[in-house]
Amino acid sequence: MSSLPDGLIVIAKRDCPTCVLVEPLLAQLAATGLALTVYSQDDPDYGAGVAGRVHDSTLEHSYRLDVEIVPTLIRVAGGREVERTYGWDRADWQRITGVAALGADLPAIRPGCGSRSLDPDVAEGLALRFGKVRLSARQVTIGEAEDPVEACFSRGWTDGLPVVPPTPERVLRMLSGTRRAPDEIIGSIPPDLVPCTVEKVAINAVMAGCLPEYMPVVLAAVEAALIDEFGMHGVLCTTMFCGPVVIANGPMSRAVGMNSGVNALGQGNRANASIGRALQLVIRNVGGGRPGEIDRSALGTPGKYTFCFAEAEDSAWAPLHVERGFAPESSTVTLFAGEGVQGIVDQKSRTPESLARSFAACMRVIDHPKLAMAGDALLIVSPEHARVFIEAGWSKARLLRELIELLTLPADEMIAGAGGIAEGLPPSLAGTKVPKFRPGGILIVRAGGTAGLFSAVVAGWAASGAVGSTPVTQEIVA
């Protein structure tokens, strides 16, 4: 179809009242001796009386002519389109056809209907058949009697929950969520260190239940996991508990509807649930990181299905991405190698000093009350608790400084054997004070519902820092 037939082209469907309205005109146009081609998207008898009538059953002509509305009228001269209109607009039709009295008895204007070539799923199928996009992932043919969801289970592609079967149409639709080319390699996924394309991420995002608009966030999360300091290989294969916790900041997290409010760390929000899950499925399927194989976690954590939320940013408290050097208007994901959620219940503190002491007391038990400089901490402060600090003029940075001070602990209580517990710090530290967390080992974000004097701490991997995993932040780009 490199060259178009000269004359007039009409694309229509019987299902459209405006197409039915103009149908009698088509025979009139053909009778004038004008070269006329009529493509019908549904009824092969549409345009009866027109010799150049074509049933566009595959919708290939509609796709290649880029039809969005039916009827569409196109004039072609010298093999090239010179003019088009859509719907019924009497003046346009008269001008384009050159027939002055065409449709004189019809209303001046009637809007058309959507082209069948743009119907959901149809558009992607046409793009795959006739378009330029080429997907390169291997096609897996499943049996006619095989349930696609069960087929994904039996091939080992799921985390234990059902996935959305990654059909080519769904994957193409997912790829529409990013401007990046499907064959772009974004990095090598541990543990197998396999080069991963944008297309492979899209396949796993489909399976995780993502919408196409989440793709930039998913891609950023995968790229963040590949930053060397994050140590994704170790996070995966450790016998400890952790998995990547994804914290989103900036306008993109709000645009895609991520939850930073009520039940922010819980179930029920599609973006939170599926973005975190997509990252895990990429690690599982592309990287080959499966529990019992390279993933040697003794107990694991429910967050290894998905653990992803947004910060409830407040103008009085610097959001996490700004603290980590990004512009306030930028959008980012920060990855933290985290374990489970431990609640901090304090319903009585009304001063920042008291509440900070509560936080410190609860954070002290991370890993073990007698260990220090092991796991990092992600402190998630609820709005009601944050208000106590904000109203007293405490910035996040001030709270952080106070926590570091409060969590500089007497080693005597913590050395091995103290308190009748063999676990603990080396006896050589006796008589000194030790910081519970390494420098930079405490992250603070604000999230949660507006009712509840409760915050939470998420313990980091006990091999936090250069030895294992350091939190990383990656900008989200469309």
């Binding site: 959901p120 799923d121 997907l135 992932a137 291997r138 096609q139 897996v140 043919t141 499943i142 049996g143 006619e144 696609p148 087929a151 994904c152 039996s154 091939r155 592609w157 079967p165 990654p166 059909t167 080519p168 149409e169 994957v171 996924i189 197998d192 396999v194 297309e199 492979k200 396949i203 796993n204 399976m207 499925l281 399927n285 592309v286 990287g287 080959g288």
Partner: protein
């Protein structure tokens, strides 16, 4: 919408698309073999002979029977065979 019969492979494509059968054991020594009679006529004759031959070689044999060949095995029976045996042989024809 109808589900397409084509899925795109989400993995690194390091293993064949067609899933290989489980590897066969090199020998039967130390293994337990289940013989599943699906209740089709004379299936027991075939399985009895296998039973004799296997026992003569010192192989542990366990016998199972489906209530009827017209329906899949009850879940409880399938789970019991999976838990108790390393291999299973079933006679399918009359």
């Amino acid at each position: 919408m109808t589900e397409a019969a084509i899925l795109l492979d989400p993995t690194a494509e390091r293993s064949p698309a067609a899933r290989p059968r489980l590897a066969r054991p090199a020998g039967l020594e130390g293994l337990t073999v289940g013989l599943l009679d699906i209740s089709k006529a004379r299936g027991n004759v075939f399985l009895d002979r296998l039973d004799e031959l296997l026992q003569a070689r010192g192989v542990t044999v366990r016998r199972y029977r489906k209530p009827t060949f017209t329906r899949p095995a009850p879940v409880e029976l399938a789970q019991r065979i999976a838990a108790e045996c390393n291999l299973v042989v079933e006679g399918l024809a009359d």
